[in-house]
Symmetry: C2
Subunit: 457 residues, 2 copies
């Protein structure tokens, strides 16, 4: 690699960072909550326009029943290597709104942090990538590899219509050598990571109705209660011993290999107790988990989580009713080799077998887990890129979070993939989501380095 | 009793019923939701004004921290017998508003029913009592007994400040010979009841917090979940075998006596399967309860009911979080000789003993159960009054619902009490609460008869 070129590009980034920061704030000010279909079209158009400014042939590809993909190519004059760049322009809802110190779509800078929904997950990093490409172009007049941009508008909805897109554009997408997702997961400041996999997710709702309408609670002693039934059904799935008791749940779970265990030991700072304390203020863990055991559980354990539970009257004062119905939202984080369909079937069978055939299971969204080998070129390029910026990344075999990478890693595309990037931000899916301003700067530079390392020049 | 006088009064009621109905609608149009402090002051003043129109010295007695009691005396020229007339001018909240066929404060008449919040519980019956007194006065120029009106503005809040009032006015209230609550509980049309008791209630909230803020659910496998903890705690209190397992819960519960059992057999139409079907459309009961067993359980069993449960995200789509906190609202219906304090202590001790010392228990409201003997004069007068109107009332030892009658039946007042009245209405605490128009008419007449039977003239 031409060290001088890289140095010049980094200088360019430094010199133009104020403009890049302002443009990032503008982008974050455009709401794009996919769940609520709020600002989606506007944000998609804004994204395409920015890619066109780079010279890409970006356009909105509508998906039947879903939000459009922003899609475009930017060809290199000097490389026949091609990188598929995945990103997302949608974000999570913002409630509880009152918990934000600054409005979620104001993108105010407070104490060196950009506070905004999407700041770190992941409109901020997408902007860093775009500015990295722009800076490379400004200095060199070209890009080091061919880029195919695929910017998802439904990641927070489980990318449920993305298979449509992949089917439609399989031939073009297969020209890529790898897939890259610029995801600066310095969850703990100063401890970047290169991630080679994602857990899958099965997200569904359970609902039980026992009465035609809410009833005065004086009938409580004689009627079947919806909310009690839901509690008992859930308790049968995960009881007070804190074990997941869904029949056959662990059947296909792959334990960590020796290579996995070696990776784990480098991850104590990233996914160990200190990380959870800094990330969430959490200092106590299930069953006193600590050290490497905590890391292993975070990365290799599937979870059975209740995201929400609603039944009856929850306002102020003493309204006394037997609620007609009760519902909860559940996500199960899938590790290799669990699959969405397998787990949904097992939950349904478990409910039926335990006498809860009346409980309705409604699938919401899901995708299977995905992993890439650390030996892949893109994985090694990502590690080298961060080291070039004097960072010592931990290599994470499977991120505890989820993204639809399986759509790219499985047939027909079969692409190796990696998530990486510098910069610290946090509070994904929570109030006061932030990306540090200096992290955004590092994030841009890490995208530059990644592209050159991937190009092998 | 002068049969002719009674006949003349009933004729007066018939002739003026259109006016009475219109006035009842006006009263129901005045919102008075105590939980939300909506329209309370206005409704209290409206109530006092109507009592003053009867000649009572009615006024609002403010209660520190609570809603005023409407209080007044109306003396008879011909009797030294005194009846304390309890009533309530407050109502339950109206949600879910969209479930009402007619707005809850429009008091529209549909299919022979007045649809309104408070129509049957119990602003409608209060108006029937007031119109009964008015009609007696119009025909006779007097009232058959002295009346002390005590109209509560916090019944739906558990009458939590009423003890203040009783303490302040003990001497005046003790001049009463009995307490009467005009409560036409023809839950099934054509089957009126005279009620000699109320269950008590202990209403409280449980809340558990395990995280400083909602966390991305990718941490689910390693953190303690608030909502799972609440589910396990609740399951320990009442498990899938549907038994209440709070330690010592049944310790003070008095089983029905032989006299109680005799009363039960007359109540199959009122509190048996047909009643539940007509009242709630409920045809299936806990553990297949049926017949007299169902009646016995409805009347003599304490309940452990969850009124509401809220945790995390409950909107549309797949927001994936571990909720920082979870809460539920619970009411326990107390039968003799359970007490509120005893039960709260037992719940707290149960939670502590089962490892849920972190779960906060917040008392909301409560009162102890209360019973009157069927041999009391007021009880026998109530039965005779309904029979005089060709009704065959069932005598209910304890109503499955609750009201703060214990405040009157226990020291210092020690008053016998009864709840009675003709007329069918239903959907208390639910959408489309109603009182049949012809039931309102019967309700007025039954108040007239009660007053004369109580006067023994």
């Amino acid at each position: 690699m031409a060290e001088d070129t890289l140095k010049q590009i980094f200088e360019y980034v430094d010199q133009h960072f104020d403009d890049h920061l302002a443009a990032t704030q503008r982008y974050l000010r455009q709401p794009s909550i996919s769940t609520e279909n709020l600002g989606i079209q506007e944000c998609a158009e804004m994204t395409a326009e920015m890619l066109r400014d780079l010279g890409a042939d970006a356009r909105l590809v509508p998906l039947q029943g879903g939000h459009p993909v922003v899609y475009g190519h930017l060809m290199s004059r000097n490389s026949d290597r091609t990188l598929l760049v995945y990103g997302m322009y949608d974000v999570q809802p913002v409630d509880p709104l009152e918990a934000w110190d600054s409005p979620p779509f104001e993108a105010r800078i407070m104490d060196g942090r950009i506070i905004a929904r999407g700041a770190i997950n992941t409109k901020g990093p997408l902007m860093a990538f775009i500015h990295a490409v722009h800076s490379i172009q400004a200095v060199t007049g070209d890009v080091p590899v061919n880029l195919i941009f695929l910017i998802d508008g439904e990641e927070e909805l489980g990318s449920r219509h993305l298979p449509q897109f992949i089917e439609q554009y399989t031939d073009e997408l297969k020209t890529a050598d790898a897939m890259y997702y610029h995801l600066p997961l310095e969850t703990v400041k100063g401890h970047p990571q290169v991630s080679l996999g994602f857990k899958g997710i099965a997200y569904f709702e359970l609902e039980v109705k026992t009465l035609p309408t809410d009833a005065h609670s004086m009938v409580g002693p004689v009627v079947n209660s919806s909310v009690w039934r839901l509690i008992w059904a859930l308790n049968s799935m995960r009881g007070a011993d804190d074990r997941i008791a869904i029949d056959g749940f662990y059947e296909n779970v792959q334990p960590p290999t020796e290579e996995d265990e070696r990776m784990l030991t480098d991850l104590l700072d990233i996914w160990g107790p200190r990380a959870f304390k800094e990330m969430y203020g959490i200092t106590e863990f299930r069953e006193g988990l600590d050290g490497l055991d905590l890391v292993r559980e975070a990365i290799f354990a599937p979870g059975l989580n209740i995201d929400g539970f609603l039944s009856g009257y929850t306002g102020p004062g003493p309204k006394a009713i037997v609620p007609a119905s009760a519902m909860c939202k559940i996500d199960i984080r899938l590790v290799p080799d669990m699959t969405v369909q397998e787990i949904l079937d097992k939950v349904r069978a478990h409910l039926d077998r335990h006498g809860y055939g009346d409980i309705e299971l409604r699938f919401v969204t899901g995708y299977d887990p995905a992993r890439t080998s650390p030996k892949e070129h893109i994985a090694q390029a990502a590690v080298r890129a961060l080291k070039r910026l004097d960072a010592e990344p931990g290599v994470v075999p499977i991120l505890p979070g989820t993204a639809p990478q399986v759509l790219f890693s499985e047939p027909p595309l079969n692409l190796p993939f990696v998530m990486s990037g510098l910069g610290h931000g946090w509070l994904l899916h929570a109030p006061n989501e932030y990306f540090e301003v200096e992290g955004l700067l590092a994030c841009e530079k890490s995208a530059v380095a990644l592209l050159y390392e991937f190009a092998d020049v």
